[in-house]
Structure formats: C-alpha cells, structure tokens
C-alpha cells in the first residue's frame, strides 16, 4: 500500500486522465442515459426553455420508425456476412504469409498498408472501381464503366449497376461486403500473424515427425492454438460491424444510398447521426442505447459460443 502522505501524489498523476475520462466518457454516457429517457428531448428546445417529461417515448419512436428496421437489417446483414468471410480470409492469408520465407516482411507491409490508409479514401477508390465512371452528356448516358464491370464484360458478362442509378439493394450490399472485408483484413491478418508467430515451432516439428497432412496441421494444431486470437478477432469484428457507418459514407457518400434511393443503406450509427442533425438528441440517445444493448447481447452470445471452442 502507498502510505497516505504519498496518496495525493498518486491522485495528482492520475488526474489528467481521470478528468478527461470524466468529461469525455463518463459524463456523455450519463447524459445519453438522461436524454434517452426525457420524452422528445432536443438541445435547441432545451436551451429555449422547454422542459421534458421522463418516459420511454424516445425508445418507442425509434422502434416505430419504419426506417429503423431497415437500418437494423442492413447493419445485421453486413455484420453476419463480413465477419466470417474476413476472418477466414485473414486466417488463410496469415497462414500463407507465415509459411513463406522470402519477402515475408515486404509482403507483411503490403498487406498492412490498407490499415494506415484513410477509409474514406479507400471507399472512393472502391466507388470508382464499381462505378460507372464518367457521364457522357451528349448521349446522356454512362460511357465508361469501372474496372469491375470491365472485367465482367471482358468475360462476356453483362455490366451491372452496382452503386448508381437503378442499382439493386443486393448489388449495393455486395459492394459493401467486398469493401468492408477488404478494409477489415489488415488488422485481422496482423493479429493472426502475430498469434501464428508465437506458436512454438516444436509443435510443427512434432506434427512433421508424426507425418501429419498439411490440412490436418491447420485444423487440428494451428487453428486450436490460434483460437484465443481468432476469438478476439471475431468479437471485435462483430462489435465493429454493428458500428458500421464510415464505410458506407466512403462509397455512397452522406446520402447513404444510391442516388435514386438515399438512405437505403443507412445503418444504426447512421440513424443516430441523422437524429443528432435534426436536433433530436433524445431520439439519438435512445437509438445509441438500443445499439449498445444489441452489441452487448451479441458479444455475450459470442463469448459463450467461443468459450466452448477456445482452448486454454
């Protein structure tokens, strides 16, 4: 124990962090709770002297709002589709990276580059790839396709409107899945590669002595020994997935949808931002709390499932 004379020093050293946390984390959490349970709360109205009753009206409004279910649906689809794909791909890439000797460091750097690149910038590049690039004002039609459609046409396929006028929801979601998976890979590869490199090489020597086929080494040795890292990557993947927002802005812009159907790809976080913009902090807070509860439930569920499969 620190003796009491010294304690004030400890508090002094901790104070910058504590003060910042109180102002920017603890108070906002508390304030979110407060605003969520004040019926129809809005900052402007509050400053104008309006008073609000305690109640759950905000929550009811969120749930009743028809677009909210769409937001929830889009968020859930993106989550459920991208986490398994990106985790599997990251695992395979990490295993491959770990098993090659020449240029390993260089390749690691290349695979990690997207992580340090601005996600909006990546989004713009992806938008261009999937886009109908350029608009021919004379013929009043698109005349240049993005690279994806070029490839499809090269193989004799029909060009698809991915994100433009007249695109389908499925096409939009497909683009989002590709983009989110690509964006999520570097971090997961980094974590899994770190995990792989910390596995004692002797396990592999032992497996070699026993003549273990490569596929069995992966499923019976590598994956179980990597399971703590895999669990981490999956759980954080789901949490990140439920907070998906900037990726959609990156591709579709702030309209959160193709030009002819703005808001089609809105997500939970997008919903919260929208409410904030309209000075409906009460509604935004309620939405944020609902999102929090969903993430909590999913994470607890994840934890429970994963615990059965994580060894040691």
């Amino acid at each position: 124990m620190v003796d009491s004379k010294q304690q004030w020093k400890a508090w002094l050293y901790l104070s910058p962090a504590i003060i910042l946390l109180l102002v920017f984390t603890v108070w906002p959490i508390f304030n979110t709770l407060r605003m969520a349970f004040l019926n129809g709360y809005g900052n402007m109205a509050a400053m104008g002297g309006a008073t609000f009753d305690l109640g759950i009206q905000n929550f009811l409004k969120v749930i009743e709002y028809d677009k909210f279910i769409d937001c929830l649906k889009t968020t859930a689809i993106l989550c459920v589709a991208t986490v398994p794909i990106s985790t599997t791909l990251a695992l395979l890439i990490a295993v491959a990276l770990n098993s090659i000797k020449p240029l390993q460091k260089t390749l690691q750097t290349i695979f990690f580059l997207p992580y340090v690149t601005n996600s909006i910038a990546i989004g713009m590049v992806f938008a261009t790839m999937f886009n109908i690039v350029g608009y021919n004002p004379v013929e009043r039609a698109a005349d240049t396709w993005g690279i994806i459609n070029n490839v499809i046409q090269f193989f004799g396929g029909e060009a698809i409107s991915w994100i433009n006028q007249g695109s389908t929801y499925t096409a939009n979601i497909a683009v989002m899945i590709v983009y989110i998976v690509w964006n999520a890979l570097p971090f997961k590869i980094l974590i899994l590669l770190g995990g792989l490199q910390s596995i004692n090489k002797q396990y592999y020597d032992a497996a070699k002595v026993d003549g273990t086929p490569k596929a069995r080494v992966l499923t019976r040795i590598t994956i179980p020994l990597l399971s703590p890292m895999l669990a981490y990557v999956i759980i954080t993947g789901f949490i990140g997935g439920f907070k998906e927002y900037s990726s959609i802005v990156g591709i579709f812009g702030e309209k959160m949808g193709p030009p002819d159907d703005a808001g089609r790809l809105n997500t939970m976080v997008g919903f919260v931002y929208d409410a904030l913009e309209k000075d409906r902090q009460g509604l935004a807070s309620a939405g944020a709390l609902i999102l929090f509860v969903i993430i909590l439930i999913v994470t607890l569920f994840n934890n429970k499932v994963i615990k059965k499969h994580v060894h040691y």
Partner: protein, 367 residues
C-alpha cells in the same frame, strides 16, 4: 534396428555476413549404433549433439555424409517416412488435446494400408500409456500434469507408432533432481522392455553414464570418444573427456615428465618408464588419491567434508588447474583435520597423463 552414421557433417552458413565464417556443427561423425542399445550423446552445449539427433530424425538435413537405419539409406528420406519417435526437450505436447488425444494423434495420421480402426488405435494408445504408467491420466490436459508426467506422455506419443528408432532430446533437463533420477531409471526400463534402439542427448555426464549402453562424447562438433560409460571413464583419450566425465571432476595438475618420472612441482609422484620428457597435464580421479603418511604428493589441507559413507578431503596445490584438489575416501579413514598439509598416495590406474600442448593422452605402463 541398427543406426549407422557415415561421415555425417553439418555446416550452418554464417549468420554474420561480414566475417563469412561458417559454423561446423557436426564434423565427420562416423559411428554404428548396434540394434537395441541405449546411446547417450554427451557434450557441453554447442558441441553438435542435438544437431546430430535432429539429423537422425530428419528434421535437419546433413551437409554431407549418410545415415542408415539397418541397411536402408534414409539420408534423403523425409522425417515422417523414417519411422522414428522423437521426444522434444520441452515435450511439445499439444496443449489443447487430452493425454489420450495426444497419444492417438500420430496413429490418426496413418493412412492407406496402415490405417487403423478406432478400437485398434485406442488399444495401441492404452498399451503405450500403460508402458509409461500414465493410463490413469488419459483424460487430463497437459497443463494439468507434472513435468514428469508430461515427459511420460511425450514418450508414449513417440512410442505409440512403434518407431524403429527412438530419439530423446535432453529428456531430463526440465525435471527436478529427484524426478530426474526416477525418470532416467524409467527411460532405461522402457528401452529395455521395448528393445527399441534409443539415442538421447544430454549435457549431464552423470545422466549419460548411468543409463547408456554406449556414450559418445562430443566437443565442438567433433566426436572425442565412443565407448561403454565405464571404459570411457577409466580410459579417457584426452584431457577434455577426462575432465568432462565424473563428479566430482577429475583433479588436474600441471607437471612434467623427466627421466621416466612424473614431477608435480619438485615431487616425483610416479614412475613412467619409457615416456619421453615433456610438459604434461596430470589427471587424477578423486577416488584415485588417498591420504597416507608416506604419500608422494603434498598438498595444503583446506578441510574435510564428511558425507555419510564418503568423505572428501579438500586441499590445494599451487600446480593445480582446478581451485582444489579433491580426494574421495571412505569416511572410516580418519584424517587429521588440524594438520597444515596432507600427503597423498596415488593409484596408478586412476592416474592419467596428457601432453600439455595437444591435450592428448600419454600412455605409460603401470609398474
């Protein structure tokens, strides 16, 4: 299965590119290990003993030379096709599998004509487990086992495939002193029961001496001496082998041979007719000197340590290479501990001469 090593050499490329010096880990090792014997590869760290073991296992490829199992040349054969069992220094048990799963694992990899039914696998696993006396621990995870038990599981896993050759890398180094004693007996017993040619690596001479049929003493990649433990101990070929074997270590003193007599300082301690005059190192086993009133070697007496059955007379001599000259005697022999000096007689067959420059043994006839 006899194992034959023929001019086995392993050269590691230099890590330091500037100096460009290669490391010769094992240099021209030729040796035939007879079928069903327990062989200890012994030497200080960096002597190439582990490299030799891993070359026999196939996990490392020799730079040159051949390895035969029986009459088969296995030099180019990959590890899994050699039919070896390998016990790693830290056991390398799969932490996420139970003991049973660990032991079953090598069997589950067998395919084609060697494929076993589930029941056959279980029978074999239990047979191996019973041999090392861990059949009661089959449902435990490795983390729930003591070091000694983990060691046994590792041996069972290596044995379950019925290997032609069993290889053990420092099998006792991770165990505490008491377990070490027990486990080495155990390894001896298992080897005798199975009759599998077994090669193990150790830096602990006592360990190697106590259980091996044959020991191979290595230094800096070069084999120094091969033989039965007692023979090597009684008849070391050079100073290194003499000093490496034996606890407490052999007493080494500087001296010279002059006119057929060995001198330590001014004292003539032994007649060695026919040996040329030269400077020598003199090695005397601790059990080879005993205090006597008419002794030939005079040392300054430090103290006497009585340890039950034995006593050890600790003295010093200005020509001694070691800090002390130690004599192990029966504790029945009384030594005057108040005396300043002690005189020793020397048993000729515990007394070795080594040329001071080459450190090779200088042989002489015991009269």
């Amino acid at each position: 299965m006899k194992v034959v090593l023929e001019n086995l050499t392993k050269i590691f490329p230099s890590r330091d590119k500037k100096s460009g010096k290669e490391v010769v880990a094992v240099n021209d090792f030729t040796f035939e290990i007879p079928d069903g014997q327990l062989v200890g590869l012994l030497g200080p760290s960096g002597c190439g003993k582990s490299t030799t073991l891993y070359m026999i296992s196939g996990l490392q490829k020799p730079s040159s030379g051949k390895i035969y199992f029986g009459d088969d040349d296995v030099t180019e054969l990959s590890t899994e096709n050699r039919g070896i069992g390998l016990v790693f220094q830290n056991y390398a048990l799969y932490p996420h599998m139970t003991v049973q799963q660990n032991i079953l694992f090598p069997l589950q990899n067998l395919g084609g004509k060697d494929k076993l039914s589930k029941q056959e696998m279980l029978d074999r696993a239990y047979e191996a487990a019973r041999l090392v006396q861990i059949d009661e621990l089959m449902d435990r995870k490795p983390s729930e086992l003591s070091g000694g038990q983990q060691q046994r599981v590792a041996i069972a896993r290596a044995l379950v495939k019925m290997p032609r050759v069993l290889l053990l890398d420092e099998p006792l180094s991770n165990l505490d002193a008491r377990l070490r004693l027990q486990t080495r007996e155990e390894i001896r017993r298992i080897q005798k029961e199975t009759g599998i040619t077994t090669i193990f690596v150790t830096h602990d001479q006592e360990e190697a001496m106590s259980i091996s049929d044959v020991i191979v003493v290595m230094k800096l990649g070069v084999v120094q001496q091969i033989g039965k433990p007692q023979d090597v101990y009684d008849d070391p070929k050079n100073l290194f082998v003499a000093t490496f074997l034996g606890t407490p270590p052999i007493n080494v003193l500087e001296g010279k041979v002059e006119g057929g007599k060995v001198y330590i300082g001014d004292e003539a301690v032994m007649n060695v007719n026919g040996v040329e005059d030269q400077n020598v190192y003199i090695g005397i086993r601790p059990e080879g000197i005993e205090p006597a009133a008419d002794g030939v070697l005079t040392c300054k007496l430090n103290n006497v340590e009585v340890m039950g059955r034995d006593a050890s007379v600790v003295s010093s001599h200005e020509n001694s290479v070691n800090p002390v000259v130690r004599a192990i005697i029966s504790s029945d022999i009384k030594v005057d501990t108040t005396a300043e000096a002690v005189k020793f007689n020397i048993k000729p067959h515990k007394f070795f001469l080594f040329n001071k420059d080459t450190e090779e043994r200088v042989y002489f006839e015991v009269k």
